[in-house]
């Protein structure tokens, strides 16, 4: 029953990644990201309950709370603020048109399946094809960064990668040791804050957050 839930969630996460890919507006990026984070939090919570029943570990629950606090509440809010502050007109943000990008993403999913299929012991117990889903979320996140021109888009992409990583870690190995998990959260938080700060600065200097304008350093 738990496994079933987790599977659905992982599929949901993958779908949310696709949805993100299909989004046009920054506001909708953030919304989709929030949804994704929520589902991750759920997954963490489920695993937390499971493990607390089984072996009385609580770290997952803590992590779950952290996710809710950071990825569901704080970071999206931060991004919203940033997005509100930069005077930013709606304009075409992506380099390819959406259908093609979706197709490429499908390709990435296939590829990550192909990549991970070599690992023996895949598909038994907890570690089933959810792992593939979550890894493909990483690639999609990376591709999202590639495909979006605006700074915020890139931040989101990075966050999606983080999500993918996190879910992968959680599903494949029941999560890292708690210290590591906390550390990762800390890092991610600072990273996002720094990026956000830089977005402001870029906005001042280049009076746009279109990072295609950042192309002076060549050769």
């Amino acid at each position: 029953m738990f496994d079933f839930l987790l599977e659905t969630l992982s599929v949901l996460i993958l779908l949310s990644a696709f949805a993100l890919m299909a989004n046009k507006r920054i506001s909708s990026y953030i919304r989709t990201f929030r949804i994704q984070s929520i589902s991750i939090a759920l997954a963490a919570g489920i695993m937390g309950i499971q493990s607390s029943q089984a072996e009385g570990r609580f770290d997952f629950l803590i992590v779950c709370l952290l996710i809710v606090a950071l990825k569901v509440v704080y970071i999206p809010h931060l991004l919203h603020k940033t997005y509100a502050n930069v005077k930013y007109k709606v304009e075409k943000d992506f380099i390819l048109n959406i259908p093609i990008m979706i197709i490429i993403c499908c390709g990435l999913v296939l590829f990550s399946y192909f990549a991970l299929a070599s690992i023996e012991g895949l598909g038994q117990g907890l570690l089933n094809l959810q792992f593939v889903n979550s890894v493909s979320v990483i690639w999609i996140g990376l591709f999202f960064m590639i495909s979006r021109k605006k700074a915020i888009g890139q931040i989101i992409g990075f966050l999606v990668i983080e999500n993918g990583l996190y879910i992968a870690a959680m599903l494949s190995t029941n999560g890292m040791p708690l210290v590591v998990d906390l550390g990762i959260f800390l890092d991610m938080l600072t990273a996002v804050m720094i990026m956000g700060l830089m977005v402001f600065r870029i906005n001042d200097k280049f009076d746009s957050i279109d990072i295609d304008k950042l192309n002076h350093l060549k050769g």
Partner: protein
């Protein structure tokens, strides 16, 4: 001997070190600094020269001098002297002695203007590195010294760095020589990978046949570049003129010979000659260098560039000897090979003397006129007569004119070729005959070239104010040139003195003696030189010439009575306004040959007159420029191609768009995953 000789060598090396250190310490006291550094060099050279002669005459086999091992793997300093090293060292020490005397005077015009301390430091260490190159027994240590030599000489080349052409010359030089030494390094490492040792005196038995050929080619490229072998010579005519003249004397006199040493040491002694085509290749390249080198020299208007090109030619002569030697050894004809080797070694020695002298002479010209441009010189034989006389001697020597030492080398080379032409090896024979022809043509061109060099810059009327104001050079400079001139004459008259040394050297590397027994009752007094039944008596020839001159004078006195002389202006067709601009210019002198060999120089001329008609009385400007085939068709296109390629790719890769950068990462990951799946 065993105990005494190494100490002598060590002492000389030590003295160089001390000289270097002192010249750094006495940075402020420039006069003393200059004096002390050069005196140390002279003392060291005397010791060294004595040691090397003693080594060759009275000691067989390698002589250990110094050995030290570092904590870094494969870094060990092993110095040994065997006869080859000793021979090259002898040439080095003799030249260094003279050049150091010269420097005392020559460098004096730096005092107050440039950092003399730095110069002397570089000068001394440069010599030191050359000594180490000749004595190092460990391949890696050899490479290190080789590189150090290049670097120090680079700094000397760019010493007068305010001129941008010097900087360019230096850069070209350091780049080419560094690339070349990369080839040498590869060769060493291939050797190591088979023999597991860097010992130069070790055996190359473990090397497979194929790899030997490759190694030979690597060495040829590596050392050929240093030697200025055409088509790898392009750095030479730029670098040698750029350096201060005493340094260019060392560079042309000894440094390019390190390459000859390398070929001997690594190809002849270490690898051992197996294929005849090695020799053929060297011989062919030598011929090309001989002809083109002197041809380009003849066209030069800049005295030091002229001398530099002529170095290329002389290296060519040496390589012809070396090539013939390799061919002969490949056919196991030791005696014939030894002829050729004798010729090569002797010419190496002689060239270091007269080319060194010539560069010193050029330095003297520059010292007294501040110009290297022949079109600005002229009439110097009246203003600096002593220098003029010595330069004349060197010019005769390099033109292989009896009784100077240049001739002996030339004669031996011809004898070597002659002896090696054996019926039944048709291809090689034809090549050898062509070599004879090339040497002949070159001989003619050399005479033309140095008649131009001496005649234009020392004779006639001064072509510029500087030449008119030329001031006599310091005594030391003349002394050193005189010394070299005497040596040139001495070794020209009594070649046996040096040939006995050469003979020992060749015996020590598996050759056989070439000095036949001496015949001729009366002429024995004149030290005949007898090779393969052909004997010459340079001393006798000189004696006869002198006798003839005296006789002529006497007879003239008898028949013609007293000699009456009337001073008068040069015949001016009644025009009565003969100016210095009406005499033949350097360009004009070489014009006929330039037209004959148009194909080589592809001269481009420009006539420009202020007036519209060329026949008007307005001054007319005639400029003609030559271009070197290799620089135009080989090097600059290659350089351009590489540059543009690098520019293009650089901007294709580092586009400045972060998207591309992320794509790189993604693609890399995907590729590596593929690798993981398939391997």
């Amino acid at each position: 001997m065993e105990l005494f000789l190494p100490v002598l060598f060590q002492a000389s090396v030590l003295l160089y070190l001390v000289g270097a250190i002192i010249s750094v310490l006495l940075r402020k006291r420039e006069k003393i600094n200059n004096l002390s550094a050069n005196l140390f060099c002279m003392a060291a050279s005397v010791l060294g020269a004595a040691a090397s002669i003693a080594k060759i005459l009275w000691h067989e086999g390698p002589l250990g001098i110094f050995e030290a091992h570092s904590t870094i793997p494969f870094l060990s300093l092993v110095m040994k002297v065997d006869n080859i090293s000793a021979f090259f060292l002898l040439a080095l020490f003799i030249l260094v002695f003279c050049v150091s005397i010269y420097s005392i005077g020559y460098i004096s015009h730096y005092i107050g203007r440039r950092n003399v301390g730095l110069f002397n430091f570089l000068y001394t260490t440069f010599i030191l590195t050359m000594i180490l190159v000749f004595t190092s027994t460990n391949a890696i240590f050899f490479y290190i010294c080789w590189e150090a030599m290049s670097v120090f000489s680079y700094f000397l080349v760019v010493f007068e760095s305010e001129k941008s052409e010097n900087q360019r010359a230096g850069t070209l030089y350091i780049i080419m020589t560094h690339l070349a030494s990369a080839f040498i390094l590869v060769a060493f490492l291939i050797i190591y990978s088979y023999t597991q040792s860097f010992d130069l005196y070790g055996s190359s038995g473990a090397l497979p046949e194929m790899s030997k050929n490759i190694i030979f080619l690597l060495f040829l490229i590596g050392f050929g570049t240093k030697a200025g072998l055409i088509p790898l010579h392009v750095w030479l005519p730029h670098a040698h003129p750029a350096a201060p003249s005493n340094v260019s004397a060392l560079m042309s006199g000894i440094m390019i010979k390190t390459a000859i040493y390398g070929m001997l040491r690594f190809v002849h002694c270490y690898l051992g000659i197996e294929q005849a085509w090695w020799g053929l290749l060297i011989l062919t390249l030598g011929m090309i260098s001989v002809f083109l080198g002197v041809a380009y020299a003849l066209m030069e208007g800049n005295i030091k560039r002229l001398l530099a090109f002529s170095s290329v030619e002389n290296i060519g002569i040496i390589l012809i000897g070396l090539g013939v030697c390799f061919i002969a050894f490949a056919h196991e004809q030791v005696l014939l090979g030894s002829f050729a080797l004798t010729a090569a070694l002797l010419h190496t020695f002689n060239h270091s003397l007269f080319k060194g002298g010539l560069f010193l002479g050029a330095g003297a010209i520059q010292y007294s006129t501040q110009t290297k441009d022949m079109e600005k010189l002229g009439g110097l034989s009246k203003r600096i007569p002593v220098t003029a006389f010595f330069v004349l001697c060197f010019s005769l020597a390099i033109s292989a004119i009896i009784p100077f030492n240049g001739f002996i080398g030339e004669w031996l080379t011809f004898q070597a070729l002659f002896a090696n032409i054996l019926p039944g090896q048709t291809g090689i024979d034809i090549l050898l005959i062509l070599a004879v022809a090339a040497l002949g043509l070159a001989g003619g061109l050399v005479i033309a070239c140095f008649v131009k060099f001496f005649g234009i810059s020392f004779l006639g009327l001064p072509r510029s104010e500087q030449a008119l104001q030329a001031k006599e050079v310091p005594l030391t400079m003349n002394i050193s040139m005189g010394l070299l001139a005497c040596l040139c004459l001495f070794f020209g008259l009594f070649p046996l003195t040096i040939l006995t040394l050469v003979d020992k050297v060749i015996l020590s590397i598996g050759g056989s003696t070439v000095l036949g027994e001496l015949r001729g009752e009366f002429f024995l007094l004149f030290y005949p030189l007898e090779i393969a039944g052909n004997e010459i008596l340079p001393a006798a020839i000189l004696g006869l010439v002198l006798v003839m001159i005296i006789l002529t004078l006497l007879l003239l006195r008898m028949f013609g009575g007293k000699y009456i002389e009337r001073k008068y202006g040069t015949w001016d067709c009644g025009y009565e306004a003969l100016t210095s601009r009406m005499q033949y210019s350097a360009t004009g002198f070489s014009k006929p040959l330039q037209i004959v060999f148009k194909i080589l120089f592809r001269p481009s001329r420009k006539l420009s007159a202020e007036g519209e008609a060329l026949c008007s009385s307005e001054p007319i400007k005639y400029t003609t420029t030559f271009s070197s085939i290799f620089e135009d068709f080989l090097y600059s296109p290659a350089a351009k191609a590489v540059k543009s390629f690098s520019k293009k790719t650089a901007f294709r890769i580092q586009t400045g768009s972060i998207h591309n950068y992320l794509i790189y990462i993604l693609v890399t990951v995907l590729l590596l995953i593929l690798y993981n799946r398939f391997f």
